[in-house]
Symmetry: C2
Subunit: 145 residues, 2 copies
């Protein structure tokens, strides 16, 4: 038995990005690299996130070339992952509204109907942004049985 | 209903790092930020990884200040995550052997008894390394019911 490593096809990369709910943004500024998990939506061209205007937003404003990663662990050391390089773009107006609709569609409506925008995080200004896909690679590692 | 964000205590950070099996390394070199998932072990002082000598190892050799992240999604937008800053240190001899034992202890023995070292990834030189913990922060986001 040895591990088989396969490159994912563009369709498989697209599929994993549609399936997953949590991804991680990698950004770098002021000599620090930072990896932070986010809930995201994906439309084939970009991933969409609503977040408070904290450290990661400050870092991406400073250096908009970022990395985005999703993975799915299948047990016994087998998994699939996608790593993409993209460009951080802040959204406003109708673009931000569309991002919030894409995100809302990933969750069942809350019992009290409070909009996603308000629930995005407690306190602080909410920033909607996308990471526009520039390049993506995907790998599957199958340890087999 | 609104999200509650809490800082994890040092004991909770330690607990999440012990519980999780997959983490993500964030590294940066030559103007690129890279986030890559890894299976790891943790002993309270560092996370331990065995990997082929690919892109992430080249990047960490060049710039050993890296980020390491774990998260646990609990559904309905609630989660816990730990983000740590650490130093990449390559391991050899008894240090590498100990890292492989820590990793092996996280998996049941394979049916054919092939050692973890061989199974780490197909092809290429296997590098054992640790990311020595310098600073860690953890957050819990509870969307509540």
């Amino acid at each position: 038995m040895s591990a088989g490593i396969a490159e994912l096809t563009p369709a498989e990369i697209d599929g994993l990005l549609h399936e997953q709910l949590v991804g991680r943004i990698g950004c770098h500024a002021d000599g620090h690299t930072y990896v932070v998990p986010v809930i995201y939506a994906y439309d084939g061209e970009a991933v969409y996130v609503a977040s408070t205007a904290g450290r990661k937003v400050r870092m991406m404003r400073e250096r908009p070339h970022v990395c985005f990663e999703v993975d799915e662990y299948a047990g016994r050391g087998s998994w699939r992952s996608v790593i993409l390089q993209g460009i951080y773009e802040e959204l406003e107006g109708e673009d931000a509204a569309r991002a919030l609709r894409l995100l809302a569609a990933r969750f069942p409506p809350p019992a009290d109907g409070e909009p996603v925008r308000r629930r995005a995080e407690s306190g602080g200004e909410v920033v909607c942004f996308r990471i526009r896909l520039v390049e993506a690679t995907g790998r599957a590692v199958d340890r087999g049985a």
